[in-house]
């Protein structure tokens, strides 16, 4: 598994990479400096730990997969356009936000990366990542579109901001009125002070939403439902395993043990992914909970050093 990968490509040991490495090194002194700030979190973690068998598990979301891939279009349609000229420019800004006058009457607040295309009459912003604010004086352009990654939104208004996070794409109207039509959702009219969220449309995006819902201690049923939508998109590899694991843990939390077993077994029968070991562990724990370890003997074997204590628990309930 490692042979070819170990040989190529070569590490880039340029002076710049070396400088970045050496200038950001952290050590034990840093740990001692930061540790006091974690006192409360450590005490809570120590107090809330429970033995594995009776643990009230929360979802384990290992891989990011937060980056969704879908399409969003924001369209702004004031009147009185100036003569059209082609626009072409990259928009890249990290760290702090940058204010840009795209055209007279069209102001942007950029933090992230994307590009500008189209014409001065119909600017098209292709937004790859990060946050973008748009403010348009009525009459400055005929139409302005922002393409990002979440469904399809059409907006008519004068000032709005778009924030993409794990929950989806949030559209907030600061001035004027806006029509928003997310993909797979009916169009809705928003006015100043209103906001809405367009949900992700890809498996990765939906997994990210499930992560964020779980962060907010949302209802487990809603999280599982989100993951089921993600699974229905036909993800593969590591993403499929991550979704599977989340579904299995969620169903277990809902005490739907049989369904959880079916989900986990199907994933383990399918293609390999980054969470093989976690899935096998969950399969065994579910089997123990169902008091029937008959179908998980191979998993226990494959778990190596983790296997014997699991086997002992299986033996205790009288299964092979």
């Amino acid at each position: 598994m490692t042979t070819e990968l170990d040989q190529s490509p070569m590490h880039d040991r340029s002076p710049m990479m070396d400088l970045l490495q050496s200038s950001t090194v952290a050590g034990p002194d840093d740990a001692e400096r930061l540790l006091p700030g974690l006192d409360e979190a450590i005490a809570t973690a120590a107090a809330s730990a429970q033995p594995p068998s009776g643990r009230h598990r929360r979802f384990a979301w290992g891989l990011g997969a937060v980056a969704a891939a879908a399409v969003v279009a924001f369209v702004l349609l004031p009147h009185g356009p100036p003569p059209a000229q082609p626009l072409e420019r990259d928009l890249v800004q990290s760290g702090s936000g940058r204010d840009i006058v795209l055209l007279e009457g069209v102001n942007l607040r950029v933090e992230g990366s994307g590009s500008v295309g189209g014409t001065t009459r119909h600017p098209v912003l292709s937004w790859d990542q990060g946050a973008l604010g748009v403010e348009v004086t009525p009459g400055a352009v005929e139409g302005l579109a922002v393409h990002t990654a979440e469904g399809a939104v059409h907006i008519t208004g004068t000032a709005f901001s778009v924030t993409r996070d794990a929950l989806g794409t949030h559209v907030d109207v600061h001035r004027g009125s806006v029509d928003v039509a997310c993909t797979d959702q009916p169009a809705q009219a928003l006015t100043e002070g209103d906001g809405t969220t367009c949900l992700p449309t890809t498996a990765g995006g939906l997994l990210g939403r499930a992560h964020a819902l779980e962060d907010q201690d949302a209802d487990t049923g809603l999280v599982v439902q989100t993951l089921e939508h993600a699974a229905a998109r036909g993800p593969s590899g590591a993403l499929a395993h991550e979704i599977c694991l989340g579904r299995g843990l969620g169903l277990r939390k809902l005490k739907r043990i049989g369904e959880a077993q079916v989900v986990v077994a199907a994933c383990l029968d399918g293609q390999a992914g980054g969470r093989q070991q976690d899935l096998m562990l969950l399969a065994v724990e579910l089997a123990i909970q169902a008091e029937d370890c008959g179908a998980v003997g191979d998993h226990i074997e494959a778990l190596g050093a983790l296997g014997p204590p699991l086997r002992a628990r299986c033996d205790a309930i009288g299964s092979p």
């Binding site: 598994m1 952290a26 050590g27 540790l35 979190a41 990366s113 946050a131």
Partner: protein
């Protein structure tokens, strides 16, 4: 390598406070390096690192296999950094900054030149898409092997190679544009 598996994992899982503290001491520097390298100079790396541990300690019990710990911790770090970048953006959006006119030369690096070279490099890494920056940091900066990075990111070998190529190319492009690399040395 012992860095890949927290010491006394069972004790940590049982809630042994001393074991949890030891684990924090071991991994705080690792995470601090990640937040410094991936977050860029405008993200408060100390604060982000502590937040990573607050989240991680709350969710420690969700890590089933100790071998998965480092990968899981890295994913928590990436998510926390993403939130920090958004927070920085939101604050700036609220309180206005100077306006750059796009009709002028494409040179937003006015204050860039005032940074130290190391900070400039951090800034360039922070301009990369997050997936590319992660590959660059793990492979070229931290010198991990390809299989290790494959494991950390949970992507295929082919995807990793493609991302590494793109990351290096984009880094070189931005670094050249900002004068960190001379034009002729491609």
């Amino acid at each position: 390598m012992s860095m890949r598996m927290p010491e006394r994992w069972d004790a940590v899982q049982r809630g042994d406070r001393a074991a949890i503290e030891t684990m924090c001491r071991t991994w705080l520097p690792v995470v601090l390096q990640w937040t410094r390298r991936l977050g860029g100079p405008r993200v408060d790396a100390d604060s982000a690192t502590q937040e990573v541990f607050i989240v991680a300690l709350r969710r420690l019990h969700t890590v089933r296999a100790p071998e998965a710990f480092e990968r899981w911790l890295f994913s928590v770090t990436r998510r926390v950094l993403s939130q920090h970048r958004r927070a920085v953006w939101g604050r700036r959006w609220e309180s206005d900054q100077q306006v750059d006119d796009m009709s002028g030369p494409a040179n937003p690096e006015a204050d860039f030149t005032r940074m130290t070279q190391a900070t400039q490099i951090q800034e360039v890494v922070a301009t990369l898409p997050e997936d590319l920056a992660a590959v660059l940091v793990l492979y070229d900066v931290e010198g991990r092997t390809m299989p290790e990075v494959v494991d950390m990111l949970g992507v295929s070998e082919g995807t990793l190679r493609t991302r590494l190529r793109s990351a290096r190319a984009q880094f070189r492009k931005v670094a050249t544009k900002r004068g960190l690399i001379p034009e002729e040395s491609k």
